[in-house]
Amino acid sequence: MKTRAKVIPLARRPGPEDALIEVDGVRKVFPVGASFLTVLDEVRFQVSRGELVCIIGRSGCGKSTLLKILAGFLAPSAGKVLLNGETVARPGPDRCMVFQEDALFPWLTVRENVAFGLRGKGLSTTEVREQVDKFLALVGLREFHNYLPRHISGGMKQRVALARVLILEPQVLLMDEPFAALDAQTREEMQDLLLTLWRQLSHTIIFVTHDITEAVALADRVLVMSTAPGRIQQQLRVELARPRRRDREDFMDLAGKLSAALR
């Protein structure tokens, strides 16, 4: 009798016990002149291991600020961020950020940029080269390894930025509107690339965007932020099967829902 091996996905509805990241009542107040600006207030959410969460919100609602707190670049005014149950206090290679702007080292080639985080880790030159080659291939930049950042396009720069953090195998990948500056075509390519890499490497990703289509295309779950002060106003689970077609009706339905929630 022929039995068909069937991979049964653990029908995991990630609960609080799997939480890799816990954002607990985070508040951020900036002094502005003589007064204060409350940018984030009582932000509370969790992200499970392996999840791809998108955060959307209007411009200026505090998305970047939230991500900087998660990365450890900024300290929250109140509340805390836990990673594996431990409070995040400073930046570290377990939480890597792909910035909205170009943040590559302009005096290093693509290869040297990708290798940067590996230096000082006690790897041999050969090991470093193999690792770098592997990740350059993953983001499709093998032929460009000797180029300087100023000689490659914006989309390629973001691929390098992705490769240089993926190579560190961070537990969490923080992405701050990484594809916002790209044209529509390139942006979709980059989204597909990100999904492929996510499937292969199963990172946990927190992806900030203000592009609704991008959120629906990528996310397991979308968090919608409100403005002034920024709060998580609504959560939406995206149950669409992958690969997702942007022109399908259910896709557009969801996008419509999110768009209404943002308004």
Binding site: A71, F73, E101, A103, W107
Partner: protein, 266 residues
């Protein structure tokens, strides 16, 4: 691309146009005898004087064959003074560009001292150090310190904070962050500071050597004045101009061969 080819010979010829015009003008002026020869010697006499200074046999005329020895002692003075300025100015500048406390501590005093013309230090330096090596090194170091300090500080201030954040998130510590991110990112400013500093070093070398040192490129200028040899004054001026330019090129080449960031940024 076509533009580059069209002007292909430009970079080779352009830098020499002004020196050549200068010499031409000089020849015309001295031929017409508008200016008497003891004020402005003829180019030919300068050529002879320069030849004897550089290639002449020692004893075959005034200053004959002294060039190498003078160059050597002047270079040592400039080298020591400049090195001192770099050793102090670069770290202090970088630190005050990044650390507000260091900046608060030093910026007032340094900017105050900067306003004092170097020549007013000369009498004090002569009392402190006597005539010769030490005074000259002191003046050179003092003068070169300011551009190096100010430009390193400006470079360190203007480093894109995103690069430092990127480093921190990749697990780069303070020390490596300084050498692998901060200094390379500030490199264009640092280079500017070093070049300005080296340039002014030669100026203050002459000042230091004017005070009565027996040897050195500045010393022959002063000595020639006392002997009334205008031709050797001009030779001294030209030699210093050439040496200044050559040392500037050497500095740039040295930095470019040592640091990726010096090669690849700009």
């Amino acid at each position: 691309m076509w533009k580059k080819e069209k002007y292909f010979n430009g970079p080779l010829i352009l830098p020499w146009i002004i020196p050549c015009l200068g010499i031409l003008l000089w020849i015309i002026v001295s031929k017409t005898e508008v200016v008497p020869g003891y004020l402005l010697p003829r180019p030919l006499e300068i050529g002879k004087a320069g030849y004897s200074y550089i290639f002449g046999e020692a004893g075959g005329g005034p200053y004959a064959g002294r060039f190498l020895a003078d160059l050597g002692s002047s270079t040592v003075r400039v080298g020591c003074g400049f090195a001192l300025a770099v050793l102090l100015g670069l770290p202090l500048g970088i630190a005050s560009g990044r650390l507000p406390y260091v900046h608060e501590l030093f910026s007032n005093s340094i900017n105050g001292l900067r306003a004092v013309p170097g020549i007013s230090w000369l009498p004090l330096a002569m009392i402190w150090f006597g005539i010769g090596m030490k005074t000259t090194v002191f003046l050179v170091a003092l003068a070169a310190f300011f551009p190096i300090y100010l430009n390193s500080a400006a470079g360190a201030t203007q480093v894109n904070p995103l690069l430092l954040q990127a480093g921190a998130m990749m697990g780069v510590g303070r020390v490596r962050g300084t050498f692998a991110i901060l200094l390379p990112a500030a490199m264009p400013h640092i280079i500017t500071g070093l070049r300005l500093g080296l340039g002014i070093s030669w100026a203050y070398l002459v000042l230091g050597e004017l005070s009565g040192v027996p040897n050195g490129l500045g010393a022959i200028i002063m000595d020639a004045r006392m002997l009334g040899r205008t031709d050797f004054i001009v030779v001294g001026i030209i030699v210093i101009a050439v040496i200044g330019r050559v040392s500037d090129r050497l500095l740039t080449v040295l930095l470019r061969s040592c640091f990726k960031s010096a090669r690849r940024l700009n």
